[in-house]
């Protein structure tokens, strides 16, 4: 970016700072986010429709964990990330793009890395139990947005957030 463009960018009110999330199938991994310094989310159980797994990878330490929302450890964790963590990472890459996921997790990636699983394989991961409650309550809060009644009045602040075709 040239200096003149840089200066102009600092003086604009409406900018696309972050690309909107890309649409993806939600059945397997209903919730993914890059927040609280972690890649974290919720993965539906393949066998029990009532059960979900809470999976996370911490950005700085690369510690991972997976458990049911009742804190029962995932049986698939045998010294390596389980299939739920693989699914979580893959869907994160679909939603955010590989660059953003790698940057958030502070992983060096090259052009050969295209999936979340490959991003995980580039990390020196280790297992460390973390409570599922924090992530699970963020998922419930996420779902609660769909139950929120609409504002009866216009929201003038959304003038700063135009819908944008970029990213389709």
């Amino acid at each position: 970016m040239a200096d003149a463009d840089r200066a102009a960018w600092r003086r604009r009110s409406v900018l696309r700072v972050v690309a909107p999330a890309r649409a993806r199938k939600l059945a397997k991994v209903p919730f993914v986010e890059l927040a609280d310094g972690r890649l974290q989310g919720v993965v539906s159980s393949g066998t029990d429709i009532e059960r979900v797994y809470v999976s996370s990878v911490t950005a700085t330490t690369h510690a991972y964990h997976c458990s049911t929302n009742n804190n029962r450890p995932c049986g698939g964790l045998r010294g390596a990330p389980c299939k739920h963590l693989h699914a979580l990472a893959d869907e994160a890459v679909v939603q955010y793009g590989v660059d953003r996921v790698a940057r958030y997790l502070r992983v060096e990636v090259d052009d050969t890395v295209a999936t979340g699983r490959q991003v995980l394989s580039r990390m020196d991961t280790r297992h460390e139990p973390t409570p599922a409650a924090v992530v699970f309550s963020r998922f419930l809060r996420h779902l609660a947005y769909l139950e929120l009644p609409a504002s009866p009045a216009p929201l003038p602040e959304l003038q700063w957030f135009p819908s944008t075709v970029a990213g389709r």
Binding site: L15, L26, V52, E147, S151, L155, E157
Partner: protein, 469 residues
């Protein structure tokens, strides 16, 4: 719009505008570094802000706040005063720019009714009220500066946002904070960002600070109105957790009064994985409005509330009318229609969105930027504002022979397309932002949507099983 009007916009830069923007830019750079330790440059910026407001009713409090913050006493009250000062300057910029626009276009605009300030009911929000957490968070942000924002500070925004979401009167604040924190979260560590969007984030910080003070007073001159509503186009707004469709339209009052330029707005809360045309599915509570957009038809409204130029949509009081071509509406009625003023607290250049009809050739530069050429006078086309939920693409706009859009100002004038008449492969094509309001009409896009599945249905199923436990 004619070439001479474009020239009047380009050449008639309001007196004092560049100075105001420099003062604001100085404050914005200070906010990048934060107010924990105010250096020489930022002290000068705060003094300049106080200087710009000298002689106004805000003069004394701003001078005091600037002095105290420079000296290291950074209280939430001082910051609120500085946010007010910055907002007042940009409010003045809004007024000057809109005045310039009205003069250039010959647009008639009704004045904001003068009210007795003593009669304004909104008092300050009590300390410890539901907005207190948000105010404390914005205070902390200003102290650390954008460069100092980290995961911990962002996690701390969770509770204030949740609190604000639960209070209907604080929805504007909650939606603003959700949008701002999502951008910050994606930008952490901000310290290593090559480029900080200084103006944008300061805009959101200052507006947030004002929204924590008190509920904005209701617009005076509120009443009900009946008549025929002729849509010009729809402007879609969205971030991760909110979507809003703002319809610009001409209202022909049933009592025979002159046509009025109005906006009617519907919205919904959402989640980040609901994007593109799927957002229309969240607005299904307004079938008449969506049908009017998708089928390009007029609507008859009966006894609906009108606050200034803001027509409060009520689907139960609306009836779908005859087909109405938005381009014909613009040609015939945009000239004589009376526009509405902006509510004082909403005045910021970002609020300027004036419908215009441009009939001219679109030129594509080597770098892909588009301009409309009107008798040799270029108008920039803002292709970043083409919504993901509509059929307009940069290629389609590039082929346009006529363009219905919103004139906007963001450090310069540009037009945001709402609809185009174009020639593609020698065939005439017409496309409007609202074409997919009632379902996607493009086979390729519809197929992609079907492949992704119904996000809302999947999440509702998950919510049904997990939420009420």
């Amino acid at each position: 719009m004619r070439g001479t009007q474009v020239a009047a916009l380009r050449d008639g830069v309001p007196a004092g505008l560049p100075d105001i923007l420099d003062v604001v830019a100085g404050f914005d750079e200070a906010l990048v570094r934060g107010f924990a330790r105010v250096g020489e440059q930022d002290a000068a910026a705060l003094a300049a802000l106080a200087g710009a407001l000298a002689g106004t009713p805000l003069g004394d409090p701003v001078a005091e706040a600037a002095g105290k913050v420079t000296a290291g006493s950074v209280t939430a009250d001082h910051l609120a005063v500085l946010a007010g000062a910055r907002s007042a300057l940009l409010g003045a910029a809004h007024d000057a720019l809109l005045g310039q626009l009205d003069a250039a276009l010959g647009r008639d605009r009704s004045p904001w009714p003068v009210t007795d300030p003593a009669a304004t009911p909104a008092g300050p929000e009590p300390a410890g009220g539901p907005a207190a957490g948000a105010r404390a968070w914005l205070h902390e942000v200003a102290v650390s500066g954008w460069r100092g924002v980290d995961h911990e500070l962002l996690t701390a925004a969770g509770t204030p946002i949740e609190t604000a979401l639960a209070v209907p009167g604080l929805r504007r604040l909650a939606v603003l904070l959700d949008g701002l924190t999502a951008e910050l979260r994606a930008s952490v560590p901000v310290g290593t960002m090559p480029q900080v969007p200084a103006r944008r984030w300061a805009d959101l910080w200052a507006r947030g600070m004002l929204l924590t003070q008190a509920a904005p007073p209701a617009a005076p001159g509120t009443g009900t109105v009946s008549g025929r509503l002729l849509p010009l186009g729809v402007d879609l707004h969205e971030h991760d957790t909110a979507v809003q469709a703002q319809v610009h339209a001409i209202l022909e009052p049933a009592d025979g009064g002159p046509p009025r330029l109005v906006r009617t707005t519907v919205g919904a809360a959402k989640v980040d994985t609901i994007v593109g045309p799927a957002v229309w599915g969240l607005l299904r509570a307004c079938p008449v409005l969506l049908a009017a957009l998708a089928q390009r038809r007029a609507v008859t409204v009966t006894d609906v509330a009108l606050h200034g130029g803001d027509l409060r949509w009520d689907d139960g009081r609306a009836r779908l009318g005859e087909p109405a071509d938005p381009f014909a509406t613009a040609r015939v009625l945009l000239g004589p229609a009376t526009a509405a003023p902006t509510a004082p607290l909403d005045r910021h250049p970002v609020a300027i969105a004036e419908p215009v009809l441009l009939e001219g050739r679109v030129v594509r530069d080597d770098d892909g930027t588009l301009t409309v050429d009107l008798d040799g006078h270029p108008v920039a086309v803002d292709t970043d504002r083409l919504p993901a939920g509509g059929p307009l693409t940069p290629d389609l706009v590039a082929a346009a022979t006529a363009l219905l859009g919103l004139l906007r100002w963001d450090d310069g004038w540009s037009v945001q397309p709402l609809a185009v008449l174009a020639t593609v492969k020698k065939q005439p094509v017409e496309a409007h932002n609202g074409d997919w309001a009632d379902g996607v009409t493009d086979a390729r896009v519809a197929k992609a949507e079907a492949r992704a599945g119904d996000a809302v249905a999947v999440l509702r199923e998950r919510a049904g099983r997990l939420l009420r436990r």
